[in-house]
Amino acid sequence: MRKQIYTAPMSTTDEIDKLSGEDWMAAKAYTDPDIFKLEMEQIFRRAWIFIGHDSQVPNAGDFIRTRMGVDEILLVRQLDGSLRVLANNCTHRGTRLCAIAGGNTKSFVCPYHAWGFALDGVLTAVPDIGSYPGTFDIKDRSLHLTSAARVGSYRGFVFASKVAAGPSLSDFLGRMTEAIDNLIDRAPDGKIEIEGGHFSVRYPGNWKLHHENANDTVHPGYVHESSVTSARKTEGGVTRQDELVDRGQTKGMMASNGLTSKDWNAIELNGFPQGHSFMGGFYKSGLLAPQQSDPVTETYREALENTHGKEKTAKILGMDRFNNLVWPNLNVNAQFHQIRVVHPIAVNETIIEGYCFRLKGAPDEIFHRAVRFLGTLVSPASMIFSDDLEIFGRVQVGLESGSLERLDNRRGVATDQKTGDGLQSTTSSELPLRTQAKAWRKWMDSKV
């Protein structure tokens, strides 16, 4: 029999207002499994969730297995070139259909009783169909794999929503398309492809903690103090071997986190009503930094100039933004040709995936530099990220076992400036947290 027609749990404005306000979030919002469930329904089913990149499924029949909130899904390239997001579980008895990470196929066949589904999710084969009663109709849509109501792509960045109604993808992304545009503009051929493997890193904390931390400009000096001091004190630390494609970059990245109050007050923060935010760049050295000059960078710059001309190239390479947080689950580091994706697993468990891109038309070494950057920053053994993960775990333990009722998001609230439909700050503001909390309240309210 099929799944019941979905009815969303109700959450009233009053209830949500007890969980978050202008400059605070309730501890419960990070620790209560029921609230997590509600988030999965209200946010990860309804909002535009980042699923993957075009280049992961280039040809008809290509698919990857990934997640949309807690639900496993398949991103599948259709015969007509379009994309579908299908639930990865059989409509017969719920069995997980596909257990491999991805590949190319003509159909999905359930391992249990071999029901077969076409690439678009339509049920096409049922062994021993004659044993079913007359009421069983293989064409019944309820027997098809559940397909996300909306799949949208912004220049190859694929998002999905399981509901038919809601803002358009472009309204949802707002100005965050600037980061995606900038990443693609950095490719001389105007094409980018995910390549070079990826990381999946688990932390024992709530999913919101990742985005709340990513544009927090005060934490680096404290959380990353051990790597800052080590980088500053260790003589050498500069790789000698070509295979490592590092040449002091790791050391530079570690040292860059040593921000003083003067430094963090110079980093511009921008937040938008959709929940997104971005911060100015702070890695002032390194192989992909705007200031970098070497033969590979020069060759690359020339290739870009051939495409865009000198002036536009300078603009593209000069766009110095670090984390571009697309709420709720994507982070774009355009300058370093990377993305990070947030997958909530449970109220106190999250997986972060890190990927990098090859910029088509750029020298191989530009890609190798992006690979190296990903390794230094997002590897589970990263000397930088591992301290962030540790802090997420400590916040979680603190909230679960402590007496704190509200997390305080007030820093910088008096100095935020209005710009367009967003807010801007040049102090170490918690503006990105307030922006995220606002979007959270909006989507959690079931009437919206």
Partner: protein, 161 residues
């Protein structure tokens, strides 16, 4: 590649690898690095059968200067990821050896068990050491650890394998 089957070579290598493991378990990271050649590479690939260091991400790909940075950080009083310090056992076994380009190649298996804050985790893998014979035993030119967990989901890793 010639197999080295002499009992004494395997015994020497087993002693050497056990010594390396012991230095890591005791947190004697500076002494650990003394086992490495100046131009050594320490490599934990991100996937099995990875041959490409540049075009494929690695969990760790470091040379001596970077390892020195890593080790210095581990002993920093506010290295949060190692406060409290994890207790580890690096258990090595199944040692075999061969000779390649004048270097001794030791293959072994590793199980690293870690306990931190009452949480026990473990990582396991196949390890390859490329070793140069020196007056006082062996020096490491390349250490490669192929974790069976490679390609999957990891929690943070702080103590070297």
């Amino acid at each position: 590649m010639d197999g080295l089957k002499g009992m004494s070579v395997i015994e020497d290598l087993t002693c050497f690898l056990a010594h390396e493991a012991d230095l890591l378990d005791q947190g004697k990271f500076d002494a650990w690095l003394e086992l490495y050649e100046e131009d050594a590479i320490y490599w934990v690939p991100s996937s099995a059968e990875q041959t490409d260091m540049k075009g494929q991400v690695s969990i760790m790909l470091e040379d001596l200067p970077l390892l020195k940075l890593r080790v210095r950080r581990l002993s920093h009083p506010r290295a949060h990821a190692v406060t409290p310090k994890p207790a580890t056992i690096h258990l090595i076994g199944n040692v075999t050896a061969s000779e390649q380009d004048g270097l001794v190649v030791a293959n072994s298996k590793l199980i690293m068990t870690q306990v931190r804050d009452n949480l026990e985790t473990s990582l396991s893998g196949a390890v390859t050491h490329h070793l140069r014979r020196s007056v006082d035993g062996f020096k490491i030119k390349l250490k490669r650890v192929d974790l069976i967990q490679a390609g999957g989901v990891f929690s943070a890793i702080s103590i070297p394998l």
